[in-house]
């Protein structure tokens, strides 16, 4: 067996052990709370081995950092302890090689940071053009681990773009009116789902990976945002304010079969599929506190 296959087998076993443990801990229909500090959390992401979750958190009033929650023992550590800047929107390549996030680089700018964990943690950065205040947000790797798709606040407005993992070869994917945000790449790499205000408030659209054939999937009077593909590519989870506050919804990848996953007077946001596709990770506000929860897929 090649070393590559061995690595994937190890990842698969690790993920199955982790999901098995989580499944045992879950009572059917009842959200599983993973954190308890109540601090403001943003953009959780499963690490590629599936045994940990990374997320941004307002650790202290003047710093947002990325922490790692290790699922087997629920211990936590700081993912980038030497970085004193604000850190947002962590993402991991499917093969686990590349870690990326958005770093505050002063003068209100967020830059893209990519770390190659198989090259002595070599760090490359992408500085968006468009002046000091331009930013990169909302990162998503392509499934072939070669590119990062993101929201680029640059000289063309707020659009979807991508660079390769060496932070080179910038490609603009959208160029529409309004703003385009929160891209997620389909598991086969052929499509990107995202939110756009091109027709008014944020709704969810899908397009080919190069930006062609844009189709609208939702038409809500209020914002639909943060769409994410399920691991098998058949469903899309997203956050919507259509019922008065942020709730998690799931629909088929073609926009049909809409179901509501959460029902609470406080917010449920930042949906992220568990790697096996059986549960959804969220940041939920309960009693005024923000924590990570795992919920059922409706």
């Amino acid at each position: 067996m090649s070393s590559c296959k061995s690595r994937y087998l190890l990842l698969l076993v690790s993920a199955l052990v982790t999901w098995g443990g989580l499944a045992n801990a879950l009572v059917a229909g009842k959200p599983l709370r993973l954190t308890f500090d109540g601090k403001r959390k943003l953009s959780p992401a499963y690490m590629s081995a599936g045994d940990a979750i990374a997320y941004s958190v307002h650790e202290v009033p003047n710093q947002v950092i990325i922490k790692r929650l290790k699922l087997p023992d629920r211990s936590q550590d700081v993912l980038f302890p030497n970085d004193t800047a604000h850190q947002f929107d962590v993402a991991f390549s499917r093969d686990g090689r590349y870690w990326s996030y958005c770093r505050s680089a002063g003068v209100r700018q967020l830059i893209l940071v990519v770390i190659d964990t198989r090259d002595n943690n070599r760090e490359t950065t992408f500085l968006p053009s468009g002046g000091q205040r331009s930013t990169v947000r909302s990162l998503a790797f392509t499934p072939d681990n070669t590119r990062i798709v993101f929201t680029l606040s640059g000289e063309r407005g707020l659009q979807i773009a991508s660079v390769n993992v060496g932070c080179q070869d910038l490609k603009h994917i959208t160029s529409s009116e309004g703003t385009n945000y929160w891209p997620s790449v389909s598991p086969d790499g052929k499509q990107i789902v995202f939110s756009s205000s091109r027709n008014g408030a944020y709704d969810i659209y899908v397009m080919t990976a190069n930006g062609d054939s844009v189709r609208r999937l939702t038409k809500s009077p209020t914002r639909d945002m943060r769409p994410v593909w399920s691991p098998d590519g058949t469903q899309i989870a997203f956050t919507s304010a259509r019922d008065g506050n942020y709730e998690i919804y799931v629909m088929s990848a073609d926009g049909t079969n809409l179901r509501r996953a959460t029902h609470h007077s406080e917010s449920d946001d930042f949906p992220t599929w568990q790697p096996d596709g059986r549960k959804i990770l969220t940041v939920a506000q309960r009693n005024g506190r923000y924590d990570l929860y795992v919920i059922d897929v409706p």
């Binding site: 109540g38 601090k39 403001r40 943003l42 307002h58 009033p61 003047n62 710093q63 004193t84 800047a85 604000h86 505050s104 002063g106 003068v107 209100r108 700018q109 967020l110 468009g130 002046g131 205040r133 331009s134 930013t135 947000r137 909302s138 929201t151 606040s153 640059g154 000289e155 407005g157 707020l158 659009q159 009116e177 309004g178 703003t179 945000y181 205000s197 091109r198 008014g200 408030a201 944020y202 009077p221 209020t222 914002r223 945002m225 304010a241 008065g244 506050n245 942020y246 917010s267 506000q285 009693n287 005024g288 506190r289």
Partner: protein, 453 residues
């Protein structure tokens, strides 16, 4: 900074923690000041016993909050839908569903203007009503040239007994990365009329940023004068003469404050029910708003609840202010909109439930709005030519929308509301009528926003 003590508070889980107090140069001293004793009875004649200003430093986007323009071209309107309110003709952004439901509880001015476009001078003007004669922060001016802050004026007009007359809730002096806002204090009256600054953490721990009391000196032990003197002797030995003189004066006032029963009770959020603390949310801004309500309840004439210390969002030191030059729409959806909606709606409910809204003037504002035209990186910049203020409580007729902006939200179509009109309205409702303002030589020649009354 000099360590001079700490006091225990309980967090929302009932745990005992230590809140450290620090002593330093920016001592809050708007308490026990001269020149106002004869006016102690003025509060009884006024409509507003207290003023509670919720300050959104950095410039909140008026188009994305209280003055949306859904029919404007896409390069103006932004990505947010609008919500119907209970006030005919008034729509809010979809980011404010709770406030839209409560639109009958407050009134909205949509035609505020400021005379400067930089954060610090615009903030100073918004908080004092006037420009500095020497140009202010961005034009080569010097500190101490602005007229006194509205809070300093009211604190002098109506000194309170135990508690400072002007309390500002923030982690430190408010400002931007360049420096503090000079108008957030006594101005030409001197630093003796600056605000008393308190910091409230997300867990409800209250500390005085400018003070750090002697280690181990709790409020209970503060009443033990011998213990205090021992601590002071130790501190004195570590200081030179000038440092000690400053520290001694600071300490005297802090000691007076912290040993006052009313003060220690007002600062203690653990006296609130879990339900109330949850409703405000466990963020620094949410718990600060709750502390603001407690201070109003305790009789503090002027309280300023600050969203953040710094206006900036993404600076390495910054604490998520409203200066959303970058990523305005992501930030508004992720954080600023929902948090503001929750906290301010809860504050209005809480004040109303306790009968405090009748005697408290509540004002929500920043120094300016943001550019209606979306900038070339898909965000919004400073815009002092048209923005909003929200008014509620004592003397305010709720459910009104004052003024109208043009179809793109760029300029007022009706009479603009100037910063000195804001200040004049605050002071008038707090019982400082024309004669008294003239006597104190403050905010003369302007008018009340009578449309609110």
């Amino acid at each position: 900074m000099i360590d001079i003590g700490s006091f225990p508070t309980r967090d929302c889980g009932g745990m005992t923690r230590r809140s450290f107090l620090k002593i330093g140069a920016t001592l809050p001293v708007a308490c026990g000041l001269p020149g106002g004793a004869e006016w102690l009875g003025a509060a009884e004649q006024s409509t507003a016993k207290s003023v509670l200003l919720v300050w959104l430093g950095g410039g909140p986007s008026h188009l994305d909050l209280f003055d949306p323009k859904p029919k404007a071209p896409s390069q103006f309107r932004g990505p947010f839908a609008t919500l119907q309110t209970h006030v005919p003709g008034a729509h809010f952004s979809e980011l404010l569903p709770r406030l839209a439901q409560r639109s009958k509880q407050f009134s909205l001015v949509r035609t505020n203007i400021n005379h400067e476009g930089g954060h610090r001078p615009a903030s100073s003007i918004a908080l004092t009503g006037r420009q500095a004669p020497d140009g202010g922060e961005d034009r080569g001016g010097k500190p101490g040239q602005y007229p006194p802050n509205f809070g300093s004026i009211l604190a002098r007009h109506r000194p309170s007994s135990d508690l400072p007359g002007f309390i500002s809730l923030a982690r430190g002096p408010i400002g931007d990365g360049v420096g503090p806002v000079w108008g957030h204090g006594g101005g030409t009256w001197g630093k003796g009329y600056d605000s008393f600054m308190l910091d409230c953490s997300r867990t409800g721990q209250v500390s005085i940023p400018a003070l750090k009391l002697l280690e181990g000196l709790s409020p209970l032990r503060l009443s033990d004068r011998r213990a205090m003197l021992r601590q002071m002797d130790r501190a004195r030995r570590s200081l030179d003469r000038s440092e000690f003189q400053e520290w001694d004066e600071v300490y005297r006032r802090a000691y007076s404050l912290l040993t006052a029963t009313g003060a220690s009770q007002a600062f203690d959020l653990s006296r609130e029910s879990e339900q109330t603390r949850n409703a405000y949310g466990h963020t620094s801004f949410g718990q600060s708003a709750l502390l603001g309500r407690r201070l109003v309840e305790a009789g503090v004439p002027y309280v300023q609840v600050n969203w953040s210390q710094y206006v900036e969002v993404f600076f390495p030191f910054s604490d998520y202010g409203w200066d959303t030059h970058s990523d305005n729409f992501g930030l508004m959806a992720d954080w600023h909109g929902p948090l503001l909606d929750r906290v301010f709606a809860t504050l209005l409910d809480d004040l109303g439930d306790r009968g405090l809204l009748e005697t408290t003037l509540v004002l929500l504002m920043g120094e300016f709005g943001r550019t209606p035209r979306i900038n070339n990186i898909g965000s919004r910049d400073h815009w002092p030519h048209c923005f909003f203020t929200v008014w509620a409580g004592a003397g305010i007729q709720p459910g009104r929308v004052i003024g109208q902006s043009d179809p793109r939200g760029e300029h007022p179509l009706t009479d603009p509301v100037t910063p000195d009109m804001v200040g004049t309205t605050i002071l008038e409702l707090a019982g400082m009528h024309t004669a008294r303002r003239a006597e104190m030589d403050v905010l003369q020649g302007s008018r009340v926003i009578h449309e609110l009354l």
